[in-house]
Amino acid sequence: MRPFDYHRATAPDDAARAAASGGTFIAGGTNLVDLMKLEVMAPERLVDITRLDMRGIEETGDGGLRIGALVSNTDLANDARVRRDWPVLSRALLSGATQQLRNKATTGGNLLQRTRCLYFYDRAMPCNKREPGSGCGAMEGFNRILAVLGTSDHCIATHPSDMAVAMMALGAEVEIARAGGNTERLPLDDLYLLPGDTPERETVLAPGDLITAVILPAPVAGRQSYRKVRDRASYAFALVSVAAVVAVEDGKVARADLAFGGLAPKPWRDKDVEAALLGQPPSEALFDKAADILLAKAQGHGANDFKIPLARRVLSAVLTELTEGAAA
């Protein structure tokens, strides 16, 4: 690990100041410390934000929830309100990592965790994300875990978070304290950038911008599910995952909020897929049509080709589960 200066932030503006000039925030450290050990990341200064007051989960005026950026993945999954009204979020969190890791991992850190692309982790290999311009080792290499949607010729990495996929389906917003002093709220979808020709830029955050909270809108009527397919039953990242909030009224799909993990460089939401489902009676043929839309532009790179048919089946399974037996 490269040497670094350590700064324990005492207030958000102190944190922003320390990070704006070459500092990197650290929260749970479960991703950053790992990457620092491998020297994939080598911050000159670590700004420890764990003493900031961002651990609360509060109800918002309109029935939603404001989740502080330092709320641990454990505390969020366990929250009685989340278990009752946003179970897809609890389910997504509980499907990720292990209890030991979830105890440390934070909401903000989880959103900003880096890809698990093997080439990104291996400094002997070319990787445009780690070293812009060096090439993409994964494109024609071991890319079984990588993306089929939203990629570019420069990078096919996936965003590995389960939590973010559920938050995307729930229409969450991110609250950001900009280094300049402003506070902003962005739809989660707008936090992330697609790789394009700058895969090293993953979000719209500038140095020193601090995520302070995630805001969930009020719960909606419908059934929720998080389905994660992976190489082993526990303690593995998603190959494909689907977070879904689905309602059926008068025999027709009245809501289909869907987000996908394991398929793209960011938690993936496609409104065209949802529009195709709305107002239609649920059926195998309808789910297939939704999958056609989702996967119209999907492109495999050999070892990850299987994700395309897998995504179709997982989507169909989730929609079947959530519409079956619903009031006809």
Binding site: K37, N78, R84, S90, L94, Q99, Q100, L101, S234
Partner: protein
């Protein structure tokens, strides 16, 4: 870099490079070699310790970030002659072969029983709002962060059941 924290109930003052992990601090600087380094990347659980009562991977924890925290590694759970119920159960049920993963398994399992008592759900809990039960499926899922290269898993599960008060 000065860090002051409580380890097994005793206040300890350490002056170490900020790069030092909590695991290395315990093993190399405090002579507490019970916690093991299997992978050093959060993947095996051999380094599991309790921080403020919760199980975490000490290898992904920087010592300097734990100012004021209470750390309990395996040595704090019990000692020869005064084993904790979980340690005793691992001995009686043969919950290990080489023993390398065992300190992490025991710290993890000790916290796990407490989590179940507090009603924390897991990935395999059918009803998120119901009290979780100590089924084999629940134990396996909740202990999945502790790998055992010797595959002593069946006996580890038996030991946990025994410590939980079931006569397995």
């Amino acid at each position: 870099m000065q860090t002051s924290l409580t380890i097994n109930g005793e206040t300890r003052q350490l002056d170490l490079d900020p790069r030092t992990s909590l695991l290395d601090a315990l093993r190399h600087h405090l002579g507490l070699t019970g916690s093991k380094k299997g992978c050093d990347h959060g993947q095996c659980g051999a380094c599991t310790v309790l921080i403020n009562g919760r199980r975490v991977n000490a290898c992904l924890s920087l010592l300097c970030m734990h100012e004021g925290d209470e750390v309990v590694p395996i040595e704090g759970l019990g000692q020869p002659g005064a084993l904790s119920p979980m340690q005793q159960a691992f001995v009686e049920k043969d919950g290990y072969q080489c023993g390398y993963c065992t300190p992490g398994q025991i710290c993890s399992a000790t916290a796990m029983l407490e989590e179940i008592a507090q009603g924390w759900p897991s990935h395999v809990t059918a009803d998120l709002e119901a009290r979780p039960e100590l089924t084999t499926e629940e134990i396996s899922e909740r202990m999945s962060g502790n790998l055992c290269r010797c595959s002593a898993y069946p006996n580890i599960v038996d030991a946990i059941r025994k410590a939980a008060g079931e006569t397995a």
